[in-house]
Amino acid sequence: MKYIDEFRDKGLARRLAETIAAEAHPGRDYRLMEFCGGHTHAIFRYGVQHLMPPNLRFIHGPGCPVCVLPMARIDHAIALATQHDVTLCTYGDLMRVPASERKSLLKAKADGADIRMIYSTQDVLRIARENPERQVVFFAIGFETTTPPTAVAVKTARAEGLTNFSVFCNHVLTPSALQTILSTAGPDGVQLDGILGPSHVSTLIGSRPYRFVAEQFGVPVVIAGFEPLDVMQSALMLVRQLNEERCEVENQYTRAVSEEGNRKAQALIEEVFRIRPEFEWRGLGFLPNSALALADAYADLDAEERFPVEIAPAKEIKGCECPAILRGVKTPTECKLFGNPCTPDNPMGSCMVSSEGACAAYWSYGRFREPAQSLRIPAVSG
C-alpha cells in the first residue's frame, strides 16, 4: 500500500533501532508512556518493544476511549435501550465492554434490545431517517478525534428537523487525563521520563495544549504518529531530549499536526458542545472539565435529557486491575485475572476488549514472551 508501507519499512526500522541502541545511555532508564491505544496497538502488532534496548520501556497510557469509559456509562446506555425501547447505535468496540452484573451491550442485544453496530455517524442519521417511528440514540464516545463527526451529525439532524435523533454523549478530553496522570506520578504512581503524545487528537487540538506537560511537570513530549516507524522515531527524539536534558514539546507527526490544530473543527466543537464540570473516568476517578456534553442550544438532542433512566450504582469486577493499568502503575500481567478468566473472549475489564487496550494487546500479541506460570495460561484440553 503506497503511503503506508513506507512507514513500515524493515530496513529503516533496523537502522533506527541501531541508532536508539547506540544513543541510549546504558546507565539510565527511559520510561516512555505512549498515551494512545493506537500507539500500544502498533507497538505490539509490529513487535516494536522487541527492537528497543532493554532499558527503554514503553508504559501504556490511558488513551483508549473504550477503556476509560466507566461501567456506569455502559449501564446507562443499556438502560436507555431497555427502559425506553430506543434504537441504540454505537461503534463495534463498545459492544463487548463489561457492564454491571456481567451484562454488555452485546448481551442486551441478544436479550432483545435494539442495539446496532455502526461505522460512522452518517449510518446513525440514515437509520433515523429510515425509521421515523423509532427514537434513535447515538452512543457517542471518543477523544477529540471522534468529536467533530458527532458535531456534524448533531447539526445535520437539527437542519433536517430529525426529531427522532439524539446523542448519548461520552466525548472526553485528552489534556485533563494527562494532567491527572502527571500530578499523581512519582514513587506511588507511575514513574515516567517522557511522553509519546497523541497523534490524531493533536491534528484537531494542535501541539500547543501539551506545553503544560513540559513546563509544569518537566516531562518532555513528542507528538507521535501511529505507524511503527513513527513510534520508533519519536522514541529516538525523546531519548535525545533526555540525554541533552531538554524538556520540550516536539512534533514528530508533522505530516498531519500543526501547532494550532484544525481551527474549523475546534469552532464546530465549541458551537455544539459544552464542557462538563466533571466526568468519571475509569481508573482516574471524577476529573474536572474533562468531558463534553451537548451545548444548551442543542440540549433537545441530548439523550440524557430526553430519556431519564434509573440505574443502580455500577458494580466493578473484584480483582480487575484496569484502573491501575490505565494509570500505567501496573502491567497487564500483574493483574490476577489476566489470562484466567479474563481474555478477549471473556473480558472482565475494559482493557481486555478493544484492540487498543493494553491487556488485549498483551494477550493477543505478546504473551509468548512471558514465562508461562506468570501468565496463568488456561489448561489446553484435547
Partner: protein, 348 residues
C-alpha cells in the same frame, strides 16, 4: 420443460413471491419444486421425485460434511448464496482429500421472498454444481413467516470418497512440516463487507468463492502424503492455523512477508481496522506437508488455475503452548491469536 396439467398457471418468476403455501407440502410446493428446483438442478435422481436419492457408492472410505449458509447480502461480487452453498460443502468434503460425489440441499425461505431472486440463486447453484461435476440429488424446502428468516438460508450436505492411501487430518501436523496457502487471503470477507451498506469502495473486490476439489486432486496426485488440508473460511488464516496447531499439539511459525494479500484487500482492511489474516476466504486452502515434499507440492499447486498464487508461508514447530507466531513485515515478532468475538457477522 413439459407443461404439467396440475398447474395451469405457471409460477410468476418476475413478480411472484414465496408464500406460506410453498412450504405446505401441497400443490403449491410441488409446483415450486417442479418449476424451479427441478428445472434448474436437473438431475435424474432429483427429478425422479423421491424424498431421497438412491445410489451405489464407489468402493473406498466415504466422507460426509454439512454446511449452513446465512450470508448477507445474498448476491455479492464473485458469487451469491447459491454458488457459495455448493462451493462451501464441496470444499469441506475435499479437504479430506476426497472426490466429492453428491450434494443435498435444504432451503429455508422467508414468506415474501421474490421468486425471481430464488430462481437466480437456484440457477447459480446449478451452474456451480455442473461446473464442479457434483450434482444436487435431493433437497428440502420449508417456508417461515415474514420476519422469521432473512430471505433464504441454504444448508448443503455432501458426500465424497477418499482415494486409497490418503490420510489427511487436522491432527497430523508435525514439527518440521511446511505450511502453504493456495493464494491471496481475505478476498471473500472484504468483498462481502464492501457490498454492505455504506461501504462503497471504488475498486470492486470479488469474492474468491470456488470449488477446490480439482486443485486438491492435483495436489494429492503430486504429494500423497499431505498431512493437513483446511479451507480458511470464518476467522481466516489466523484462526484456521490456530485450530490446526491445537488439534495437532504443535506450534507454528509464519512470515508476514510471505503471505499473499491483494493490495486492494490490504487497503480496505487498513481503512476498516481489520487484519486480513482474520478475514474469511471461500476459495483458498491451507496445506501442511513434510519438508522434503514442499517444493513438489508448491509446484503442483501453482500449476493449477486456482493455485497460481500459492506460497510457502511458514513451518510447524514444537511448542507446548500451541501458539502461532509470526515474524512481522516490520522485523518484529508477535503471536497470531484466535479471532476473539465476531469480526464480521453473516459472512457465509
Amino acid at each position: 420443460m413439459t407443461s404439467d396439467r396440475r398447474f395451469p398457471v405457471r409460477l410468476d418468476l418476475r413478480k411472484g413471491a414465496v408464500d406460506m403455501s410453498h412450504g405446505s407440502g401441497g400443490r403449491a410446493m410441488a409446483q415450486l419444486i417442479g418449476e424451479l428446483f427441478q428445472r434448474y438442478l436437473d438431475h435424474e435422481l432429483l427429478t425422479l421425485g423421491n424424498d431421497q436419492a438412491l445410489f451405489t457408492p464407489p468402493p473406498g472410505r466415504l466422507v460426509m460434511s454439512t454446511d449452513g449458509h446465512v450470508i448477507s447480502p445474498l448476491f455479492f461480487p464473485g458469487g451469491d448464496i447459491g454458488s457459495l452453498s455448493v462451493h462451501g460443502t464441496i470444499n469441506d468434503v475435499a479437504m479430506s482429500g476426497a472426490r466429492p460425489l453428491y450434494l443435498a440441499a435444504g432451503f429455508i425461505l422467508e414468506e415474501g421472498f421474490p421468486l425471481g431472486d430464488l430462481a437466480r440463486i437456484v440457477e447459480s447453484m446449478a451452474q456451480a454444481a455442473n461446473a464442479a461435476g457434483v450434482p444436487v440429488v435431493t433437497g428440502d424446502t420449508k417456508v417461515v413467516e415474514r420476519g422469521k428468516g432473512d430471505g433464504v438460508f441454504i444448508t448443503t450436505t455432501g458426500i465424497g470418497v477418499v482415494p486409497e492411501g490418503i490420510l489427511i487430518s487436522g491432527d497430523r501436523a508435525e514439527p518440521g512440516d511446511v505450511i502453504l496457502v493456495s493464494g491471496s487471503m481475505g478476498d471473500h470477507g472484504v468483498a462481502i463487507l464492501s457490498k454492505r451498506e455504506n461501504l462503497g469502495f471504488e475498486t470492486e473486490i470479488r469474492s474468491d468463492s470456488a470449488a477446490l476439489h480439482e486443485l486438491v486432486a492435483a495436489m494429492i496426485a503430486a504429494v500423497p502424503d499431505i498431512h493437513c488440508l483446511r479451507d480458511p473460511t470464518r476467522g481466516g488464516l489466523a484462526t484456521t492455523l490456530n485450530e490446526l496447531a491445537h488439534q495437532s499439539g504443535v506450534g507454528m511459525q509464519i512470515r508476514e512477508d510471505a503471505i499473499p494479500v491483494r493490495p486492494e484487500v490490504a487497503a480496505a482492511c487498513e481503512l476498516l481496522g481489520l487484519d486480513p489474516l482474520y478475514v474469511a476466504n471461500e476459495g483458498k486452502l491451507i496445506a501442511i506437508c513434510p519438508p522434503d515434499q514442499a517444493v513438489r507440492l508448491l509446484d503442483a499447486m501453482q500449476a493449477h488455475p486456482l493455485g497460481m498464487e500459492s506460497a510457502i508461508i511458514g513451518e510447524v514447530v514444537e511448542d507446548p503452548h500451541r501458539f502461532v507466531q509470526m515474524e512481522t513485515g516490520f522485523g518484529g515478532s508477535r503471536i497470531v491469536d484466535w479471532l476473539a468475538g465476531e469480526q464480521l457477522p453473516r459472512i457465509c
